[in-house]
Protein backbone atom coordinates (compact mmCIF):
# COMPACT_ATOMS: atom_id res chain seq x y z
CA UNK A 1 0.00 0.00 0.00
CA UNK A 2 1.20 3.44 -0.87
CA UNK A 3 2.00 5.28 2.33
CA UNK A 4 2.57 8.59 0.59
CA UNK A 5 -1.14 9.33 0.61
CA UNK A 6 -2.81 9.40 4.00
CA UNK A 7 -6.21 7.81 4.52
CA UNK A 8 -7.53 11.22 5.56
CA UNK A 9 -6.42 12.74 2.27
CA UNK A 10 -7.91 9.84 0.34
CA UNK A 11 -11.21 10.24 2.18
CA UNK A 12 -11.25 13.98 1.65
CA UNK A 13 -10.77 13.37 -2.07
CA UNK A 14 -13.51 10.72 -2.23
CA UNK A 15 -15.87 12.96 -0.26
CA UNK A 16 -15.20 16.04 -2.36
CA UNK A 17 -13.65 17.88 0.56
CA UNK A 18 -10.38 18.90 -1.05
CA UNK A 19 -9.82 22.51 -1.99
CA UNK A 20 -9.83 23.21 -5.72
CA UNK A 21 -6.06 23.21 -6.19
CA UNK A 22 -5.56 20.08 -4.11
CA UNK A 23 -8.31 18.41 -6.01
CA UNK A 24 -6.64 19.25 -9.29
CA UNK A 25 -3.39 17.75 -8.05
CA UNK A 26 -5.18 14.63 -6.90
CA UNK A 27 -6.84 14.23 -10.27
CA UNK A 28 -3.51 14.54 -11.99
CA UNK A 29 -2.15 11.92 -9.64
CA UNK A 30 -4.92 9.53 -10.68
CA UNK A 31 -3.38 9.52 -14.13
CA UNK A 32 0.12 8.69 -13.05
CA UNK A 33 -0.27 6.67 -9.88
CA UNK A 34 -2.21 3.43 -10.38
CA UNK A 35 -2.01 2.62 -6.69
CA UNK A 36 -3.62 5.92 -5.73
CA UNK A 37 -6.21 5.39 -8.43
CA UNK A 38 -7.10 1.96 -7.10
CA UNK A 39 -7.33 3.22 -3.53
CA UNK A 40 -9.39 6.25 -4.50
CA UNK A 41 -11.66 4.00 -6.47
CA UNK A 42 -11.99 1.63 -3.55
CA UNK A 43 -12.83 4.51 -1.20
CA UNK A 44 -15.45 5.78 -3.58
CA UNK A 45 -17.01 2.34 -3.97
CA UNK A 46 -17.14 1.86 -0.22
CA UNK A 47 -18.98 5.16 0.04
CA UNK A 48 -21.48 4.08 -2.59
CA UNK A 49 -21.93 0.76 -0.83
CA UNK A 50 -22.81 2.41 2.47
CA UNK A 51 -25.28 4.68 0.75
CA UNK A 52 -26.88 1.85 -1.16
CA UNK A 53 -27.09 -0.35 1.94
CA UNK A 54 -29.66 2.03 3.39
CA UNK A 55 -31.46 2.93 0.19
CA UNK A 56 -34.34 0.72 1.21
CA UNK A 57 -35.08 0.29 4.84
CA UNK A 58 -37.93 -1.65 6.39
CA UNK A 59 -41.27 0.11 6.32
CA UNK A 60 -40.02 3.00 4.23
CA UNK A 61 -42.74 4.46 2.08
CA UNK A 62 -41.18 5.73 -1.08
CA UNK A 63 -42.18 9.35 -1.34
CA UNK A 64 -42.83 10.40 -4.86
CA UNK A 65 -41.68 13.94 -4.32
CA UNK A 66 -38.24 13.39 -2.90
CA UNK A 67 -36.58 10.29 -4.21
CA UNK A 68 -32.92 10.50 -3.65
CA UNK A 69 -33.60 7.08 -2.22
CA UNK A 70 -33.54 4.67 -5.04
CA UNK A 71 -30.12 3.82 -6.35
CA UNK A 72 -30.05 0.46 -8.06
CA UNK A 73 -27.17 -1.54 -6.67
CA UNK A 74 -25.04 -2.44 -9.64
CA UNK A 75 -25.56 0.96 -11.15
CA UNK A 76 -24.59 2.75 -7.97
CA UNK A 77 -21.40 0.81 -7.60
CA UNK A 78 -20.47 0.99 -11.24
CA UNK A 79 -21.16 4.70 -11.23
CA UNK A 80 -18.96 5.06 -8.18
CA UNK A 81 -16.19 3.26 -9.95
CA UNK A 82 -16.53 5.39 -13.01
CA UNK A 83 -16.98 8.59 -11.10
CA UNK A 84 -13.66 8.48 -9.37
CA UNK A 85 -11.70 7.09 -12.25
CA UNK A 86 -13.58 9.12 -14.79
CA UNK A 87 -12.88 12.38 -13.04
CA UNK A 88 -9.20 11.98 -13.72
CA UNK A 89 -9.72 11.80 -17.41
CA UNK A 90 -12.14 14.64 -17.46
CA UNK A 91 -14.96 12.45 -18.75
CA UNK A 92 -17.36 13.61 -16.14
CA UNK A 93 -16.84 17.22 -17.02
CA UNK A 94 -17.85 16.47 -20.57
CA UNK A 95 -20.84 14.55 -19.28
CA UNK A 96 -19.71 11.61 -21.33
CA UNK A 97 -20.27 8.92 -18.74
CA UNK A 98 -23.69 7.53 -19.22
CA UNK A 99 -25.86 4.58 -19.65
CA UNK A 100 -25.73 4.97 -23.38
CA UNK A 101 -29.13 4.52 -25.01
CA UNK A 102 -27.74 2.43 -27.85
CA UNK A 103 -26.45 -0.17 -25.41
CA UNK A 104 -29.38 0.06 -23.05
CA UNK A 105 -30.53 -3.22 -24.45
CA UNK A 106 -27.38 -5.10 -25.13
CA UNK A 107 -28.16 -8.20 -27.21
CA UNK A 108 -28.09 -11.27 -25.00
CA UNK A 109 -27.92 -9.36 -21.73
CA UNK A 110 -30.81 -10.23 -19.41
CA UNK A 111 -32.69 -7.52 -17.54
CA UNK A 112 -31.29 -6.46 -14.19
CA UNK A 113 -27.82 -5.74 -15.51
CA UNK A 114 -26.77 -2.24 -16.34
CA UNK A 115 -24.52 -1.77 -19.33
CA UNK A 116 -22.42 1.35 -18.99
CA UNK A 117 -20.38 3.03 -21.65
CA UNK A 118 -18.71 6.24 -22.57
CA UNK A 119 -21.29 7.38 -25.00
CA UNK A 120 -18.82 9.15 -27.27
CA UNK A 121 -17.75 5.97 -29.00
CA UNK A 122 -19.41 2.72 -28.16
CA UNK A 123 -19.27 -0.67 -29.79
CA UNK A 124 -21.97 -3.05 -28.50
CA UNK A 125 -19.97 -5.95 -29.85
CA UNK A 126 -17.21 -5.33 -27.33
CA UNK A 127 -18.37 -6.27 -23.88
CA UNK A 128 -16.49 -6.36 -20.63
CA UNK A 129 -17.83 -8.32 -17.67
CA UNK A 130 -16.42 -7.28 -14.30
CA UNK A 131 -16.45 -9.72 -11.41
CA UNK A 132 -15.15 -8.84 -7.95
CA UNK A 133 -16.90 -11.38 -5.77
CA UNK A 134 -16.21 -15.00 -4.94
CA UNK A 135 -19.89 -15.76 -4.53
CA UNK A 136 -20.28 -19.08 -6.41
CA UNK A 137 -23.54 -17.93 -7.91
CA UNK A 138 -21.92 -14.85 -9.38
CA UNK A 139 -18.99 -16.88 -10.68
CA UNK A 140 -21.26 -19.15 -12.65
CA UNK A 141 -23.53 -16.27 -13.68
CA UNK A 142 -20.52 -14.53 -15.20
CA UNK A 143 -19.80 -17.52 -17.39
CA UNK A 144 -23.50 -17.93 -18.25
CA UNK A 145 -23.66 -14.31 -19.35
CA UNK A 146 -20.46 -14.58 -21.34
CA UNK A 147 -21.65 -17.67 -23.17
CA UNK A 148 -25.09 -16.26 -23.88
CA UNK A 149 -23.76 -12.97 -25.18
CA UNK A 150 -21.15 -14.64 -27.35
CA UNK A 151 -23.71 -17.00 -28.86
CA UNK A 152 -26.06 -14.10 -29.52
CA UNK A 153 -23.50 -12.48 -31.85
CA UNK A 154 -21.50 -15.42 -33.01
CA UNK A 155 -18.16 -14.51 -34.48
CA UNK A 156 -18.76 -10.77 -34.18
CA UNK A 157 -18.52 -10.15 -30.50
CA UNK A 158 -15.43 -9.72 -28.36
CA UNK A 159 -15.89 -10.42 -24.70
CA UNK A 160 -13.52 -9.94 -21.80
CA UNK A 161 -14.06 -11.18 -18.27
CA UNK A 162 -12.07 -8.98 -15.91
CA UNK A 163 -11.71 -10.17 -12.33
CA UNK A 164 -10.23 -8.54 -9.27
CA UNK A 165 -10.33 -8.89 -5.48
CA UNK A 166 -12.34 -11.99 -4.62
CA UNK A 167 -13.41 -12.53 -8.20
CA UNK A 168 -9.91 -13.80 -8.79
CA UNK A 169 -11.06 -17.11 -7.35
CA UNK A 170 -12.69 -17.81 -10.68
CA UNK A 171 -9.32 -17.98 -12.39
CA UNK A 172 -7.14 -19.58 -9.73
CA UNK A 173 -6.29 -23.24 -10.09
CA UNK A 174 -6.78 -24.03 -6.43
CA UNK A 175 -10.07 -22.17 -6.05
CA UNK A 176 -11.84 -22.26 -9.38
CA UNK A 177 -14.84 -24.52 -9.51
CA UNK A 178 -15.33 -23.78 -13.18
CA UNK A 179 -12.06 -24.93 -14.71
CA UNK A 180 -13.55 -27.37 -17.21
CA UNK A 181 -16.11 -24.88 -18.36
CA UNK A 182 -13.57 -22.09 -18.74
CA UNK A 183 -11.41 -24.39 -20.79
CA UNK A 184 -14.31 -25.34 -23.04
CA UNK A 185 -15.49 -21.73 -23.47
CA UNK A 186 -12.00 -20.57 -24.35
CA UNK A 187 -11.72 -23.28 -27.02
CA UNK A 188 -15.13 -22.54 -28.50
CA UNK A 189 -14.75 -18.78 -28.48
CA UNK A 190 -11.37 -17.38 -29.48
CA UNK A 191 -12.74 -13.86 -28.94
CA UNK A 192 -13.28 -14.52 -25.25
CA UNK A 193 -10.53 -13.45 -22.87
CA UNK A 194 -10.02 -13.92 -19.14
CA UNK A 195 -8.13 -11.13 -17.43
CA UNK A 196 -6.89 -11.09 -13.86
CA UNK A 197 -5.96 -8.00 -11.87
CA UNK A 198 -2.20 -7.76 -11.32
CA UNK A 199 -2.66 -5.76 -8.13
CA UNK A 200 -4.88 -8.39 -6.55
CA UNK A 201 -2.35 -11.07 -7.40
CA UNK A 202 0.47 -8.98 -5.92
CA UNK A 203 -1.53 -8.41 -2.75
CA UNK A 204 -2.31 -12.11 -2.32
CA UNK A 205 1.34 -12.98 -2.85
CA UNK A 206 2.35 -10.48 -0.21
CA UNK A 207 -0.06 -12.23 2.13
CA UNK A 208 1.68 -15.51 1.43
CA UNK A 209 -0.87 -16.99 -0.94
CA UNK A 210 0.52 -19.02 -3.79
CA UNK A 211 -1.40 -17.78 -6.83
CA UNK A 212 -1.48 -20.15 -9.78
CA UNK A 213 -3.79 -19.05 -12.55
CA UNK A 214 -5.62 -21.11 -15.12
CA UNK A 215 -3.72 -21.29 -18.43
CA UNK A 216 -6.49 -19.34 -20.21
CA UNK A 217 -5.83 -16.28 -18.03
CA UNK A 218 -3.87 -13.19 -18.91
CA UNK A 219 -2.81 -10.61 -16.36
CA UNK A 220 -3.39 -6.85 -16.54
CA UNK A 221 -1.47 -4.32 -14.45
CA UNK A 222 -4.71 -3.54 -12.65
CA UNK A 223 -8.35 -4.34 -13.27
CA UNK A 224 -9.35 -0.70 -13.02
CA UNK A 225 -6.83 0.35 -15.63
CA UNK A 226 -7.87 -2.44 -17.91
CA UNK A 227 -11.54 -1.51 -17.57
CA UNK A 228 -10.89 2.15 -18.22
CA UNK A 229 -8.58 1.54 -21.15
CA UNK A 230 -11.10 -0.70 -22.79
CA UNK A 231 -13.99 1.64 -22.12
CA UNK A 232 -12.04 4.43 -23.72
CA UNK A 233 -11.82 2.22 -26.78
CA UNK A 234 -15.59 1.78 -26.90
CA UNK A 235 -16.10 -1.32 -24.78
CA UNK A 236 -19.33 -1.66 -22.84
CA UNK A 237 -18.97 -2.29 -19.12
CA UNK A 238 -21.25 -4.66 -17.23
CA UNK A 239 -20.73 -5.43 -13.56
CA UNK A 240 -21.88 -8.92 -12.71
Amino acid sequence: MNKSVSPEYLNAFADGELAADERERAMAQLETDPDFKARACEARMLKEQVKAAYADIPGMIQSSSRTRLNPVWPKAVAAGLLLITGLGSGWLMRGAIDVAPEVDRLAGLPGGYQPISLSAQVDPNKVLLHLDSSDPHRLSTTLDLAEKMLNERKGQRQLAIVVNTYGLNLLRQDTSTEQARIHRLAEEHPSLSFIACGQTIARLKREGVDVVLLPETSVASSAINEILNRMQKGWVYVRV
Binding site: V50, K51, P58, S63, V209
Partner: protein, 181 residues
Protein backbone atom coordinates in the same frame (compact mmCIF):
# COMPACT_ATOMS: atom_id res chain seq x y z
CA UNK B 1 -41.81 34.84 13.32
CA UNK B 2 -44.64 32.42 12.64
CA UNK B 3 -46.97 34.91 14.34
CA UNK B 4 -46.19 37.61 11.87
CA UNK B 5 -45.82 35.35 8.89
CA UNK B 6 -48.28 32.47 9.20
CA UNK B 7 -47.45 31.27 5.69
CA UNK B 8 -43.81 30.85 6.58
CA UNK B 9 -44.94 28.66 9.44
CA UNK B 10 -47.07 26.56 7.14
CA UNK B 11 -44.28 25.96 4.65
CA UNK B 12 -41.76 25.32 7.37
CA UNK B 13 -44.06 22.65 8.77
CA UNK B 14 -44.41 21.04 5.36
CA UNK B 15 -40.67 21.04 4.87
CA UNK B 16 -39.97 19.65 8.31
CA UNK B 17 -42.50 16.87 7.75
CA UNK B 18 -41.00 16.20 4.32
CA UNK B 19 -37.72 15.30 5.97
CA UNK B 20 -39.25 12.24 7.59
CA UNK B 21 -37.91 9.61 5.15
CA UNK B 22 -34.36 10.92 5.35
CA UNK B 23 -34.43 11.13 9.12
CA UNK B 24 -35.83 7.65 9.28
CA UNK B 25 -33.08 6.26 7.09
CA UNK B 26 -30.44 7.90 9.21
CA UNK B 27 -31.95 6.77 12.49
CA UNK B 28 -32.16 3.27 11.14
CA UNK B 29 -28.50 3.35 10.10
CA UNK B 30 -27.63 4.31 13.67
CA UNK B 31 -29.78 1.87 15.62
CA UNK B 32 -30.80 -0.84 13.11
CA UNK B 33 -34.16 -1.08 14.76
CA UNK B 34 -37.12 0.14 12.73
CA UNK B 35 -39.53 0.63 15.63
CA UNK B 36 -37.01 2.62 17.58
CA UNK B 37 -36.18 4.61 14.42
CA UNK B 38 -39.83 5.54 14.00
CA UNK B 39 -40.03 6.67 17.62
CA UNK B 40 -36.87 8.73 17.37
CA UNK B 41 -37.95 10.40 14.16
CA UNK B 42 -41.38 11.18 15.56
CA UNK B 43 -39.77 12.75 18.57
CA UNK B 44 -37.32 14.73 16.45
CA UNK B 45 -40.06 15.97 14.13
CA UNK B 46 -42.26 16.99 17.04
CA UNK B 47 -39.39 18.94 18.53
CA UNK B 48 -38.57 20.39 15.13
CA UNK B 49 -42.15 21.52 14.57
CA UNK B 50 -42.55 23.14 17.94
CA UNK B 51 -39.27 24.97 17.48
CA UNK B 52 -39.55 25.72 13.78
CA UNK B 53 -40.07 29.39 14.56
CA UNK B 54 -36.55 29.42 16.00
CA UNK B 55 -35.09 28.43 12.67
CA UNK B 56 -33.85 31.68 11.14
CA UNK B 57 -32.11 30.28 8.10
CA UNK B 58 -34.43 27.99 6.15
CA UNK B 59 -31.44 26.63 4.21
CA UNK B 60 -30.01 25.21 7.40
CA UNK B 61 -33.14 23.20 8.16
CA UNK B 62 -31.73 19.84 7.19
CA UNK B 63 -28.66 20.08 9.41
CA UNK B 64 -30.80 21.49 12.16
CA UNK B 65 -33.14 18.48 12.06
CA UNK B 66 -30.23 16.06 11.92
CA UNK B 67 -28.81 17.60 15.06
CA UNK B 68 -32.21 17.37 16.78
CA UNK B 69 -32.32 13.71 15.77
CA UNK B 70 -28.81 13.24 17.12
CA UNK B 71 -29.89 14.72 20.45
CA UNK B 72 -32.95 12.46 20.62
CA UNK B 73 -30.75 9.45 19.90
CA UNK B 74 -28.21 10.45 22.53
CA UNK B 75 -30.96 11.02 25.07
CA UNK B 76 -32.35 7.62 24.31
CA UNK B 77 -28.95 5.96 24.77
CA UNK B 78 -28.38 7.80 28.01
CA UNK B 79 -31.67 6.63 29.47
CA UNK B 80 -31.24 3.11 28.26
CA UNK B 81 -27.66 2.58 29.27
CA UNK B 82 -27.51 5.06 32.05
CA UNK B 83 -24.46 6.65 30.59
CA UNK B 84 -23.43 10.02 31.81
CA UNK B 85 -20.20 10.34 29.92
CA UNK B 86 -20.61 11.07 26.25
CA UNK B 87 -17.11 9.95 25.34
CA UNK B 88 -17.76 6.58 26.90
CA UNK B 89 -20.95 6.36 24.92
CA UNK B 90 -19.09 7.03 21.70
CA UNK B 91 -16.92 3.99 22.12
CA UNK B 92 -19.68 1.54 22.81
CA UNK B 93 -20.84 -0.83 20.16
CA UNK B 94 -24.58 -1.37 20.08
CA UNK B 95 -26.40 -4.32 18.61
CA UNK B 96 -23.57 -5.94 16.71
CA UNK B 97 -26.05 -7.91 14.65
CA UNK B 98 -28.58 -6.14 12.48
CA UNK B 99 -31.23 -8.61 13.62
CA UNK B 100 -34.37 -9.82 11.88
CA UNK B 101 -34.61 -6.82 9.64
CA UNK B 102 -31.85 -8.46 7.64
CA UNK B 103 -34.60 -10.11 5.66
CA UNK B 104 -35.65 -6.74 4.28
CA UNK B 105 -32.32 -6.15 2.67
CA UNK B 106 -33.18 -6.47 -0.96
CA UNK B 107 -29.76 -7.77 -1.72
CA UNK B 108 -27.13 -9.69 0.09
CA UNK B 109 -24.58 -6.95 -0.32
CA UNK B 110 -26.72 -4.43 1.52
CA UNK B 111 -27.10 -6.86 4.40
CA UNK B 112 -23.35 -7.42 4.53
CA UNK B 113 -22.63 -3.71 4.61
CA UNK B 114 -25.21 -3.17 7.34
CA UNK B 115 -23.72 -5.97 9.40
CA UNK B 116 -20.32 -4.34 9.05
CA UNK B 117 -21.72 -0.93 9.97
CA UNK B 118 -23.33 -2.46 13.05
CA UNK B 119 -19.92 -3.43 14.39
CA UNK B 120 -18.66 0.16 14.34
CA UNK B 121 -18.60 2.19 17.55
CA UNK B 122 -21.49 4.63 17.58
CA UNK B 123 -19.40 7.75 17.08
CA UNK B 124 -17.87 6.31 13.91
CA UNK B 125 -21.18 4.96 12.75
CA UNK B 126 -22.82 8.37 12.97
CA UNK B 127 -20.03 10.07 11.08
CA UNK B 128 -19.87 7.60 8.22
CA UNK B 129 -23.65 7.53 7.76
CA UNK B 130 -23.94 11.31 7.75
CA UNK B 131 -21.10 11.63 5.25
CA UNK B 132 -22.06 8.73 2.98
CA UNK B 133 -25.84 8.54 3.14
CA UNK B 134 -26.63 12.22 3.50
CA UNK B 135 -23.49 13.38 1.71
CA UNK B 136 -22.98 16.19 4.18
CA UNK B 137 -19.72 18.09 4.32
CA UNK B 138 -17.28 17.42 7.15
CA UNK B 139 -18.07 20.87 8.53
CA UNK B 140 -21.79 20.18 8.59
CA UNK B 141 -21.28 16.83 10.30
CA UNK B 142 -19.01 18.52 12.84
CA UNK B 143 -21.76 21.02 13.62
CA UNK B 144 -24.45 18.36 13.94
CA UNK B 145 -22.42 16.12 16.23
CA UNK B 146 -20.81 19.06 18.02
CA UNK B 147 -17.23 17.87 17.63
CA UNK B 148 -14.24 19.43 15.81
CA UNK B 149 -13.74 18.74 12.09
CA UNK B 150 -10.45 16.96 12.83
CA UNK B 151 -12.34 14.47 14.97
CA UNK B 152 -14.79 13.88 12.15
CA UNK B 153 -11.92 13.11 9.79
CA UNK B 154 -10.21 10.69 12.14
CA UNK B 155 -13.48 8.92 12.99
CA UNK B 156 -14.31 8.63 9.33
CA UNK B 157 -10.89 7.25 8.59
CA UNK B 158 -11.17 4.62 11.32
CA UNK B 159 -14.72 3.78 10.30
CA UNK B 160 -13.81 3.18 6.67
CA UNK B 161 -10.74 1.16 7.56
CA UNK B 162 -12.78 -1.02 9.91
CA UNK B 163 -15.54 -1.39 7.36
CA UNK B 164 -13.10 -2.39 4.67
CA UNK B 165 -11.47 -4.93 6.94
CA UNK B 166 -14.71 -6.42 8.10
CA UNK B 167 -16.11 -6.69 4.55
CA UNK B 168 -12.89 -8.35 3.41
CA UNK B 169 -12.73 -10.72 6.35
CA UNK B 170 -16.28 -11.71 5.68
CA UNK B 171 -15.46 -12.43 2.04
CA UNK B 172 -12.38 -14.38 3.05
CA UNK B 173 -14.49 -16.43 5.42
CA UNK B 174 -16.64 -17.49 2.51
CA UNK B 175 -13.90 -17.86 -0.04
CA UNK B 176 -11.92 -21.06 -0.16
CA UNK B 177 -8.59 -19.26 0.08
CA UNK B 178 -5.79 -21.65 0.72
CA UNK B 179 -2.57 -20.51 2.23
CA UNK B 180 0.54 -22.31 1.16
CA UNK B 181 3.32 -22.89 3.66
Amino acid sequence: MSDTLPLFGFFARKRVEGMRPRLLRLAYAWCHDIDLSNDLVQEALTKGLTRSSQLRDAGAMESWLFSILNNCWRDHLRTRREFTDISELDEVIFDPAPGPEKQYASRQTAARVRTAIATLPMAQRQVITLVDIEELSYAEVARILEVPVGTIMSRLSRARQALKTSLQTEELGRAPLRRVK
